[in-house]
Symmetry: C2
Subunit: 451 residues, 2 copies
């Protein structure tokens, strides 16, 4: 299959606006799932299923069964993040466009492009009869970006699905251009809404300004109190629960190339880094919890000058969590901290929207050696052990069967995932297809040599 | 004309969604102006004009000229506030509905209901030939709620329009049920947007949470810094510029009935009053500046869990101003305060959207005695001198001609202006019509007796 054909198929996938968090895109999510099922059927998979639940379905596919050979389970997700602010996109988010060797579209790297590398790698290891070298299963979910529970519920109910020899999670990126990585840890996530009310009704700021408690102002003060100017999160117990990185990890991180000026200018795109200064930048991003404010609702934000004292307000916030900080526990601490900080005249409620526990991955299993050899053969370099600041909530469930979980992928640091103008490098796509194909081959050979 | 007929005509006026601040309602504003022009024509006014400018037009009408008699200029506005949150309205805001003797609709009291009392009062003093007792001019604007400049520009260009014997501004309310008021002062307004940017693009909170400056968090901290927990506004020079109320005023305010528990429960609808505790509640609302937060935009506030670090954010804020605090001067101070409080890594811009200077009115002119007699005759009580926390930006322009400006009206404290379920008491409407009719008669008689 030519690269043009491959690109046009990837573009089909990217053109489907499968934004899982927005109810209006429910049917689009289902269309993305159907598109995948059709691909798996074309690839000759005898088992292609929708795993249904309350939410967007999971696509499950199995290659033709080859007895005696190992099984690799490949994970990815077909859903994408919302696209706002839409005006900042150079080309529309669901009209994939190539510029300077990069493919721009929502989901280009997170995660449709990466799911596509798995499909094409699998295609390339099929023999003329359509039989693969080993058993490959696919589990591609549609709720990674919205915190749905379908994949969790199904993996807990059917643990045999994770009873495999290795799990490949292709939802990550290189440490830096030219430096592929495997990940020893992911941060967890505790996403919440803080709802606050001070008045039964909105008031006119002329008549009552100066004496009526403004819900938005009260919320702003509470949010300012939840995190100090220096970056310290004011949630009791939070820092005590941090399991610090091992000396080996800290040493490995120190040896990684890191250009803070480039990171600030090209990736962060700001003028200064924030956060707890006594920790290195990698430690702040990989090994410490964070508290971020995502949005604030309340009052009036339209055109013009409405002079309202808002009676209620809401903030969307999240904490990123590191090993030892289970999200349910942290959700309770956050709730208590908010209740403690709110003044007596305000009613507050913390609604926990979604969460994922932090992840640790032991990278000593031989499967990691196979992946290293694949990367070395294709891009001339073995992986470095890194961590990631982001979360893939399902990873703990994928670990349930005891198989090694290889967190890897072909993203680059400047891909802009979750941002306007998300992109993927086409060269990374072509390399990724080759790397995963070599991984399948190497994994099959290794198993064959043991027999 | 029967009250049923009057009510059905008022309902026509209220049904027009003339929200001046929303561009989508531009034509509705024009419809409200047309409706008024038709009323004035029906009342026999020989001069009915639209005063046009860049914005919503002002309706101007003049009664048939009666030489030698004084002229009263009546001010009101036909535009209304936005209606959100729409879900909190018991009946739709533009479907006027009577419940328990109150008429519920956006604009019921602010200000269409009050404009209507002026029209009906005028109708009731016409003789059988359609001639009034004195000269009455009407100036009804469409930008009171949005800070438009049309009426300002026109009154400055045509000063003869305010060269009258008295100006009645029917956009105020009773001090309390049964206690009519005239107002010796109004607070001014300085309404602004604070725009802040920390990053060139939005980021993923997983990858960059902990090190990337979050624009929303930076804005929240800046807003918290702009006003202390005790209610003190952190804008240099602001308090020094306050002209304190006179001893006479302070004494008059102390003698006004004020039930703080009722005020808190029924009007503020909260559990505690905020603001500078060393001042009385009336002083805080009438004689001190305030800083209120109206809305915050930035990041993601839709359904679900988008983990974005916003690159930019905006807050809508306003200050209420008291005598000696011109809004242009205060706008500069606010801008400087924001620039000083913003961290180096943030770009900030303060956009001044609209403003009005604070107002002082001398209530010693004989016209106030005529108004007192009218209220006494209709509701059994003379007016009390009060101030108001709100602003009517055009009042300084109405004072230009040197005529006494009578700030008065028939609103009640619990009318909920600018809030969902805004209402007006129908009894207040009927009383208001009678009061203004008696005022016209009394004013004409007083002038007649001088001749």
């Amino acid at each position: 299959m030519s690269r043009d054909d491959q690109l046009s198929r990837l573009n089909e996938f990217l053109a489907i606006p499968s934004i899982s968090t927005l109810p209006a895109h429910r049917d689009d999510c289902r269309r993305a799932a159907s598109w995948l099922m059709e691909q798996f059927r074309t690839l000759g998979c005898p088992v292609v299923q929708l795993m249904e639940g309350e939410g967007h379905p999971v696509v499950w596919a199995e290659s033709p069964r080859i007895p005696g050979m190992p099984t690799v389970l490949c994970y990815g997700h077909y859903d994408v993040q919302p696209v706002d602010p839409l005006t900042e996109w150079v080309s529309p988010p669901f009209e994939p466009t190539v510029r300077d060797g990069n493919l721009y579209a929502r989901g280009a790297v997170d995660d449709k492009g990466q799911v596509f590398t798995l499909l094409e790698a699998y295609r390339s290891v099929l023999d003329q009869g359509g039989m693969p070298l080993l058993n490959v299963h696919f589990i591609i979910e549609g709720e990674e970006e919205c915190g749905g529970r379908v994949i969790f519920d199904r993996l807990r109910a059917e643990p045999e699905r994770t009873a495999v020899d290795a799990v490949v999670v292709a939802d990550m990126g290189y440490y830096a251009p030219g430096i592929p990585a495997v990940y020893t840890g992911l941060r967890g996530l505790c996403y919440a809404e803080i709802h606050l009310r001070t008045l039964r009704r909105d008031l006119h700021s002329g008549s009552y300004g100066g004496v009526a408690p403004n819900a938005l102002e009260t919320l702003v003060r509470l949010l300012a109190d939840l995190k100090s100017r220096s970056g310290r999160i004011n949630v009791p117990k939070l820092y005590k629960a941090v399991k610090p990185p091992s000396k080996t990890e800290l040493k490995a991180w120190k040896s990684l190339p890191f250009d803070e000026a480039r990171f600030l200018e090209e990736e962060v795109t700001g003028r200064a880094l924030t956060g707890l200064k006594k920790y290195s930048v990698l430690e702040r991003v990989w090994a410490l919890p964070t508290f971020e404010l995502h949005g604030i609702r309340g009052g009036f934000t339209g055109e013009g000058a409405k002079t309202v004292i808002p009676s209620q307000a809401m903030a969307k916030v999240s904490l990123r969590l590191v090993p030892n900080q289970g999200y349910e526990k942290v959700g309770k601490w956050l709730t208590r901290a908010v209740e403690r900080l709110a003044p007596d005249y305000a009613d507050v409620e913390v609604k926990l929207l979604h969460g994922g526990d932090p992840v640790q991955c032991d990278v000593s299993h031989p499967a990691f050696g196979v992946l290293d050899e694949a990367f070395e053969a294709v891009v001339g370099r073995r992986t470095v052990p890194a961590r990631a600041g982001g979360s893939i909530p399902v990873v703990p469930e994928l670990q349930l069967g005891g198989a090694p979980v290889l967190l890897t992928g072909i993203g680059l640091p400047d891909d802009g995932l979750h941002s306007p103008n998300e992109k993927v490098s086409l060269q990374q796509i072509w390399d990724g297809i080759e790397v995963f194909a070599k991984f399948f081959q190497g994994f099959a050979e290794k198993a064959g040599s043991k027999h």
